[in-house]
């Protein structure tokens, strides 16, 4: 820790910066060959909660030749002190400047963190553009959900790891070590790295554009590198590395508990959902493996809360066995189990009685749309009866508050669908009064509505986002429709959603906008107090970019999309088929009911539900 104490005393939550937590990994820096700075481009509280970071920190530090350390974005008060006093960005474990590391890796979880990435590179004193970094500069790499279309930020990265990182990150480190030994030559290294499956080296793929701004072609720089980069997956999750301990934060973090990852992928296939597509195929862990991992983590961390994590936990085929197994020891050890999200159609009384967070606090369901027609369009195969039945179960169990998640601005949405949101909330209230053994409290329904953002690798990837004015109209329309004071209506800031849409479907031309935003001191865009829509519009204007080209344009089905050079297993043909079914309001069966031929099964997988993978 090299930060003067007077600075630590002057900033908010100084424990964000000190390091020294229980569970952190300390090594002798002279005894390792590769030093890896794992950067999370947001605050400590958010970064410390991320499961991917926890897993990869463990994977890298399991190697004797590598020391992986943590780095977070300093909050603005600390950044001011650092700039004033010339303190470079440092790592938590050793306190060494990030610029002295071999590899600097960023976890890219959401588009609005991009300005933080640039800011952190600058605070570290590392040249921002990959092209400006020579053989002696750290290698800057990225991974995480945003790398499925990392084009807007591609100019700043030497390479991206596409897909699940556990194996490829090790291969990358091994290759780096080899090259370091024989004298690191960046161009040679990148050429070789581009041939590792799952590694995308953007500088080795030149992009040319048509006059209308769409992509004309992508030209690989060498003949021997793949034209399409295939995402990585772990086929057997029972054998996947999982942390045996965690770094215990000194201050409360967003997910301040044990996270037990139950399975990857999702059987559902909601047409707006990127996670549901890019994590395919579905692969489960066995209850015995999970129970063992849970015990190890409970012993090693001292956490008294554990959450079962996956995209839709109630769809886990062994949920009963798993909760049975866990409850044999968690209750006695005063460890409470929680669930992140529930589907209304598989929410049962039994599940509610088992899970403590379901016992206390409010319940959340996500109908996503207000009418059955629109729910069919988005392939959210939940009926109103399911939602009302789930709410009744909750009311019988002593609940009086329900939270409902919706999306506004979905393709084909009309005012009728918005009326449906208000009506559904009313019906939930009615259901409460129809439940004989309800608690004696005033019921409450909170509607929380996000704005639809078209995301790459979804059936809706071609769809335009509604224009800002339309989104705002939709919000005020629904606000007027809700007159019952037992119903509360919250909605996301449409301006934030629009900027997110620009970068979600962006191409490399946007790197100029990021540079300009950075030059103007913008960062922490995902934080309300630091998000400035008008400044973003000025930035786009200054670099001659029309944000509507990315956010509000319907992309052509024949068009080369910025992310077409990534292969996630799920085919473009499947996504197109799903898009057309959406327009016909035709739902698609979930993966367990029948295979819809998305193409992800060719990646393989144990305990998957794809018929082709069953032995």
């Amino acid at each position: 820790m090299k930060i003067p104490e007077r600075i630590l005393r002057s900033v908010e939550k100084p424990a964000r910066y000190t390091g020294g937590e229980w569970g952190q990994i300390l090594k002798d820096k002279n005894a390792v060959e590769v030093r890896f700075a794992f950067c999370f481009p947001d605050t400590y509280e958010i970064g410390m909660s991320n499961l991917g970071v926890r897993i990869l920190y463990d994977v890298l530090n399991a190697r004797d030749d590598t020391w992986c350390e943590r780095v977070y974005a300093p909050w603005v008060d600390m950044e001011e002190c650092m700039r004033r006093e010339g303190i470079p960005l440092w790592s938590h474990e050793s306190g060494d400047p990030v610029s002295c590391f071999d590899i600097v890796g960023f976890s890219l979880q959401y588009e609005l963190c991009y300005t933080n990435v640039l800011n952190m590179l600058e605070l570290a004193g590392i040249p921002l553009l990959a092209a400006d970094r020579d053989d002696t500069a750290p290698l800057v790499v990225g991974g995480g959900p945003c790398t499925y279309n990392a084009e807007p930020i591609a100019d700043y990265f030497d390479l991206f790891m596409i897909g699940e990182g556990e194996e490829v990150i090790e291969e990358l480190v091994s290759l780096y070590k080899e090259h370091k030994k024989k004298g690191f030559h960046k161009e040679k290294f990148l050429h070789e790295a581009a041939n590792l499956e799952g590694i995308y080296v953007p500088s080795l793929y030149a992009v040319s554009y048509q006059d209308d701004g769409t992509i004309a072609a992508v030209h690989p720089k060498y003949d021997d590198i793949p034209v399409k980069i295939k995402k990585r997956i772990l086929t057997d999750l029972d054998r996947a590395p999982y942390p045996k301990t965690l770094v215990m934060p000194f201050i409360q973090t967003v997910q301040d508990k044990i996270t037990l990852e139950v399975y990857r992928g999702c059987i559902r296939g909601c047409r707006f959902c990127q996670a549901g597509m890019v994590w395919r195929p579905v692969r489960e862990k066995s209850p015995e493996v999970l129970d063992r991992a849970a015990k190890v983590l409970a012993d090693a961390t001292g956490y008294d809360e554990m959450t079962l994590s996956s995209l839709s936990i109630s769809d886990y085929s062994c949920i009963r066995e798993l909760t049975d197994e866990l409850l044999t020891w968690t209750d006695e050890r005063k460890i409470s189990l929680s669930l992140p999200s529930l589907r209304a159609d598989s929410f049962t009384k039994e599940l509610m009685e088992r899970i403590s967070t379901v016992r206390t606090g409010s319940l959340t369901f996500a109908p996503e749309a207000g009418t059955q027609r629109l729910r069919d369009v988005i392939n959210k195969n939940v009926r109103e009866e399911d939602i009302l039945r789930a709410c009744r179960t909750a009311f019988e169990g002593g609940k009086s508050q329900v939270k409902l998640y919706f999306m506004q601005g979905l393709p084909t949405e009309t005012n009728e669908d918005l009326d449906g949101i208000a009506a559904l909330a009313e019906h939930v209230i009615d259901e409460y009064y129809r439940t004989p053994d309800r608690p004696r409290k005033t019921p409450g329904v909170t509607i929380s509505a996000a704005c639809f953002i078209p995301k790459p690798f979804t059936p809706f990837q071609w769809e335009p986002q509604c224009r800002m004015e339309t989104l705002l109209e939709k919000q005020s329309y629904l606000e007027r429709k809700i007159t019952n004071r037992k119903i509360k209506y919250n909605y996301h800031d449409a301006r934030v959603s629009r900027i997110e849409a620009v970068f979600a479907r962006g191409d490399r031309k946007l790197s100029a906008a990021l540079a300009e935003a950075h030059r103007r001191g913008m960062r922490f865009d995902s934080w309300d107090e630091h998000f400035h829509y008008d400044r973003w519009l000025e930035v786009f204007d200054a670099v001659g970019i029309d944000p509507a080209f990315y956010a509000n344009r319907e992309f052509g089905e024949e068009e080369i999309l910025p992310w077409d050079n990534i292969d996630i297993g799920v085919t473009k043909a499947f996504l197109l088929r799903e898009r057309h079914r959406a327009y016909a309001a035709q739902p698609t069966k979930n993966c367990r009911e029948s295979c819809s031929g998305c193409g992800a099964d060719k990646l393989g997988g144990e305990r998957a539900c794809c018929p082709s993978l069953k032995k």
Partner: protein, 223 residues
């Protein structure tokens, strides 16, 4: 298993990174360390069972201490050494159990505490005398409470024990009141010195460490 849970007091130090965590966060850190230690900690018997831990004195964020105390209950008898050993194996660096025993006193009997204040300042002439002189008269400071800001003379509630100036550092030892109504935060001494002598200036780094805690008599170390 004891029929009645037994009260245990642990004397511990809080240094390094740990001095930057708040009282609330210390509580969380200790709670998880209890679980890791596998000590037979007694939990409250309610809907939401938790170990009932009571800490002695509040400690400002940024202040280290060699003499903190916490009380909790255990369901089995264990030797003090064994308790310390188990806790130290589970504590993060910076938290260290020094002694464990059955308490005979109450935290409300604490009256005074010693602090060591180290100021990294440019060497100056006769620093020791100037500090001694500055702290020999009234020490008016601005105290902010719920009722508003008022000026209080803290001289009756604190005394300078020693001051040394060596190799770019000025080290003060002070004894300050810890009683609820007359509690003196060591920061007041620093603020007063800045105002009177111009140091520590904004750019001077300093550390504060609580080194001993006393009963109301101001002489007998608290146990």
């Amino acid at each position: 298993m004891l029929s009645e849970p037994k009260k245990v007091r642990v004397k511990f130090s809080k240094t390094g990174s740990l001095k930057f965590i708040s009282h609330l966060d210390l509580n969380r850190t200790v709670k998880s360390a209890f679980i890791r230690s596998k000590l037979p900690i007694w939990y409250t018997q309610g809907f939401n069972p938790h170990p009932k831990t009571v800490f002695s004195l509040p400690l400002s964020v940024g202040t280290a201490s060699l003499c903190e105390f916490m009380d909790f209950k255990m369901t089995k008898e264990m030797s003090g050494d064994a308790i310390c050993e188990r806790l130290n194996a589970a504590f993060p660096a910076g938290l260290h159990a020094l002694a464990a025993y059955a308490p005979q006193t109450k935290f409300s009997e604490i009256g005074w505490a010693d602090y060591e204040i180290r100021i990294e300042a440019v060497p100056m002439d006769a620093a020791e005398e100037r500090v001694r002189e500055a702290l020999s008269g009234p020490i008016p400071v601005e105290k902010t409470t719920k009722a508003g800001t008022r000026t209080v003379d803290i001289a009756p509630y604190g005394k300078l024990l020693a001051v040394k100036s060596a190799s770019g550092e000025i080290v003060l030892s002070v004894r300050l009141s810890c009683e609820e109504k007359t509690f003196v935060n060591p920061k007041y001494i620093l603020e007063f010195l800045t105002q009177k002598l111009g140091f520590p200036s904004e750019r001077d780094d300093y550390t504060v460490c609580r080194t001993e805690v006393y009963f109301l008599d101001g002489e007998t170390p608290f146990l």
